[in-house]
């Protein structure tokens, strides 16, 4: 299946959802009808999905027992509490590692007993880390902006 054909099918599938859920405009509906008339595979999918929609429309929500809600809220509080704990631990770890690294590098560079090639290696490491950081930031800023599928999370 070519890329263009795949894109087209994805678009038709989204239109199918919008049609089933009553969120399709008249013009889009006409496009969908045309696509379904031209492609028997998509038409088969449409009929299958329409049967699912009919079945799910007849469902009614059953209120869960009180214990289920109590258990649910306890799990929410636990997750919030642990999430907050992890944030604090992560901040502490980052600060300590950063502080320790900064001091270690400073001391190594200031120490006249440390051989020159070790100091060069430190410079190379710091320079490499800066290049990596710059590369990641550039990718986030420029490459993602041109990503055709950035709106779709799979």
């Amino acid at each position: 299946v070519s890329g263009e054909n795949w894109d087209r099918r994805e678009q038709v599938r989204r239109q199918m959802m919008a049609a089933l859920d009553g969120e399709l405009s008249g013009k889009e509906r006409a496009e969908l009808d045309r696509a379904l008339a031209e492609d028997s595979e998509l038409r088969g999918e449409w009929e299958r999905l329409a049967r699912v929609k009919e079945a799910t429309e007849e469902m009614r929500y059953i209120e869960p027992p009180e214990e289920t809600w109590a258990h649910y809220w306890v799990s929410v509080y636990n997750r919030l509490e642990r999430g907050f704990g992890w944030v604090l631990v992560s901040i502490c770890a980052l600060v300590l590692i950063g502080y320790g690294t900064w001091h270690a590098i400073g001391e190594l560079l200031a120490d006249s007993a440390v051989p020159g090639f070790i100091k060069l290696a430190i410079f190379a490491g710091v320079f490499g880390a800066l290049i990596l950081l710059f590369s990641v930031i550039r990718e986030k800023l420029f490459v993602r902006r041109d990503d055709r599928y950035k709106e779709v999370q799979r």
């Binding site: 994805e10 989204r14 969120e23 079945a55 799910t56």
Partner: protein, 59 residues
């Protein structure tokens, strides 16, 4: 149908529940879950396809 819905992955189940039980519109589901509308439609599509498979298996 209920059994089939329980077999869905959580992110598919939540869009089906919000659409079918809660009757929310795509925009509202997107805002609630913090995802683009296109993703709501893609997840609904994959959820309904899986439901069709499960329901056929159960029959």
């Amino acid at each position: 149908v209920q059994v089939a819905i329980e077999k869905l992955a959580e992110r598919e189940r939540e869009v089906i529940v919000l659409k079918e039980y809660e009757g929310l519109r795509y925009r509202e589901i997107a805002d609630l879950l913090g995802i683009p509308i296109g993703t709501v439609m893609s997840r609904l599509y994959s959820a309904r396809r899986r439901l069709a498979d499960f329901m056929e298996e159960l029959q």
